[in-house]
Symmetry: C2
Subunit: 425 residues, 2 copies
């Protein structure tokens, strides 16, 4: 800003370049901003076969019962259970082999397979294992699927069956008109199966958040040590993990003040140029193109993160250092994406509780995100807030979040470890 | 088999139709068969940007160190830490503002931004917050990125920095030649970032198992109660969850004896027609087209599952009832797919330990998979092995696996619950 005019928005000193952050907002305040700017996106109807892991946008009701009528749940013979009382291996009883028909005649058994309608009068299914036709194990070819072969055949019964055995009653699984699944449900494979079995072909789901990624100019590391763009491939993986889709990756030219949003994105991630160096102008760029609400969060790594909006879409400013970028994404941007997509906002990792080994050091007033390994059941820090780089997150089993008021954890303290690779949204 | 010849393979009585399963193999034996038929598939090279959640097929080494040279880890001024000793808010020290160059002159400070090479002689980075140029907070526009503006400028230093502060040493994150990631690693977003930052554009990953799904004729439920095909959409979601891809869904015509594998699949799932009804000929079809190794597993639901191979590819026979199909997939087929893809074979769910509420009943000699809810911290069964249908798995929070020798769990017993929707492979 060589023109001497320093942009200010809502009392925020925008230009931290060469000065540093005089006051960072707390993670709580930053989180409140995110929650205030992340109403669930609209719904879309999609094919139920593509709906696994998507978020239901409305309740789904069952238009009909499952089963739609009393039916056999297993293969065997439809019988009156009372007719089998007393039957055993050494005391076979005899029933007439009946044709499959609407009404089961008295003292008879009708072959039936799972899913077929139960004949009136029958109240149980005798498994094939417990019966023989004319003294032989059932000859499948002679079985009266719909025929007259059965005429005169006798069935020997070698065991009793209780009333209801093998029978599925109408509505036993799902009653007609009941709510099958609630809005906000993340659809599981079995949900897909139930929906498909009810003939529900399309379901309303929350739209996937469309994410634009703007990447700052790479760090001036020189030819030999030049670092490739770690952030945009990593952010793409993170966004997809959190249910979003990356619609564009654009290089943010440091010199350019304009904010190119030539495509429809529900939110923007700007990675890099967030810090205090002389060409760290991402925050200024956001302030000039829209509104910069927050720049600088009491968070390590990731303290130069910021938030604002451009063209009505929220923007999260992430640091260019890859570890800082990961940390700020996990603690801030990921929540925004999950909320926009209707998902649970919490960190998408399994949590295990474990005991601290060597002391873990933290800075008072800052939320420290500490990469850790679980070694022999103990939590051991890897690297520190200032060092270790992204490789420390690669080597870690997970991370511990140390609240701002604490200066760390003493050996033996029990802490919650968010386990990398464990979760899913 | 009306011709009187009954196919037998390896001592297995193939035709269970109308007879039932005289002897089912244990889940252990079925699992051994799976493990013997699931060598990890070959590798393929893919773009690192597409590699999240894929399984690394070989170790990846770092060709160079990260950082490649000593560099600044934060923005500020490169200094000799010794020159700052004693500096404080009320005792500022003065350093000469130097140009960025190879060697830091004595008693001076050179502006530097994160990622830049540390000048010789410097051993720490003084943050911008701790310094002012000529008594003013640093004017970013006047900062000597590469220029002569600095000539004669003085820097007031308001704090001491320790040796190494803000400095990243060559190889501090990753040393050249070290193993970065091990084969079998499921790649996390941060791994993608580290690989990309090292300029590694392609990585060798285990090929995704290609799965063909053959669906049996729908159950004869009649017009009104007809059930749609629940299994193939559900299986597709399960296969994808386990890292496989569905290459074809084919209807298995009950009448046809041939096994159409007109496409390259690494394994086949046959869903339906596995039972004891008169048109349950999927097992026979497998036996005639290839080898049927197992039919009938001591597992509930899912007891009519089987395994074999056709054309060199393993085939898993799954029951047509959707709940049985889900259970047999989870306990058998999923493991096969995960192993083929190089993933951990275990059930891909988070496990929580909890106390049984009402008694859970199981059958001795059979592994029971019991859908449960966690209600007020207690484990409560939903439905039973014989009833509840797929909807019970939809309503459940997870499931409990009851080993064959047990007849269930008494109230108060502590059990492991596999939590639906929690995992990921």
């Amino acid at each position: 800003m060589s023109d001497g005019k320093e942009p200010k928005r809502r009392g925020l000193r925008v230009d931290v370049r060469g000065r540093g952050f005089s006051d960072r907002v707390s993670l709580e305040v930053a989180t409140e901003w995110i929650d205030a700017h992340s109403a669930v996106l609209g719904a879309e109807e999609i094919d139920v076969r593509e709906a696994a892991n998507r978020v239901l946008a409305a309740d789904v009701k069952a238009a009909r019962a499952v089963p739609a009528f009393d039916r056999a749940g297993i293969d065997g013979y439809a019988v009156r259970s009372g007719d089998t009382v007393g039957a055993g291996d050494y005391n076979p009883l005899e029933l007439a082999l009946a044709e499959a028909q609407d009404e089961l005649p008295a003292a008879s058994a009708a072959p039936i397979i799972a899913g077929e309608r139960l004949p009136h009068g029958a109240d149980a299914i005798l498994p094939f294992e417990l019966a023989r036709v004319n003294g032989e194990a059932t000859d499948i070819a002679a079985l009266p699927a719909a025929g007259a072969q059965a005429a005169g055949a006798k069935l020997e019964v070698f065991g009793a069956v209780a009333e209801g055995l093998g029978v599925e009653r109408e509505g036993q699984q799902v009653q007609a008109g009941t709510r099958l699944l609630e809005a906000r449900r993340v659809l599981l494979p079995q949900d897909i199966g139930v929906l498909a079995s009810l003939g529900i072909g399309r379901v309303p789901v929350a739209r996937r958040p469309r994410v634009g990624i703007l990447v700052g100019k790479p760090k001036p590391c020189g030819e030999s040590g030049g670092q490739g763009d770690a952030n945009s491939p990593m952010l793409r993986a993170l966004v997809e993990r959190d249910g979003g889709s990356v619609v564009a990756v654009v290089a943010l030219e440091s010199e350019r003040r304009g904010f190119a949003i030539g495509y429809a994105a529900d939110l923007m991630l700007v990675a890099g140029r967030s810090g205090t160096g002389w060409d760290d102008d991402a925050a200024l760029t956001i302030a000039e193109a829209g509104e910069l609400a927050i720049h600088g969060v009491a968070l390590r790594p990731g303290g130069s993160a910021g938030m604002g909006s451009v063209g009505g879409a929220p923007v999260v400013l992430l640091p260019g250092d890859p570890l800082d970028c990961l940390s700020a994404y996990e603690m801030l941007a990921g929540r925004l994406i999950r909320r926009l997509g209707g998902r649970a906002p919490e960190l998408p990792f399994a949590v295990v509780e474990a005991e601290v080994g060597r002391k873990i050091v933290s800075m008072i007033g800052v939320v420290d995100v500490c990469r850790v390994r679980l070694e022999g059941g103990k939590v051991e820090a890897i690297g520190s807030a200032e060092s270790g780089g992204l490789a420390s997150a690669m080597r870690a089993d997970g991370f511990v979040v140390i609240p701002a008021p604490l200066e760390g954890y003493a050996p033996g303290a029990r802490v919650r470890v968010y386990v990398y690779g464990s979760g899913g949204v």
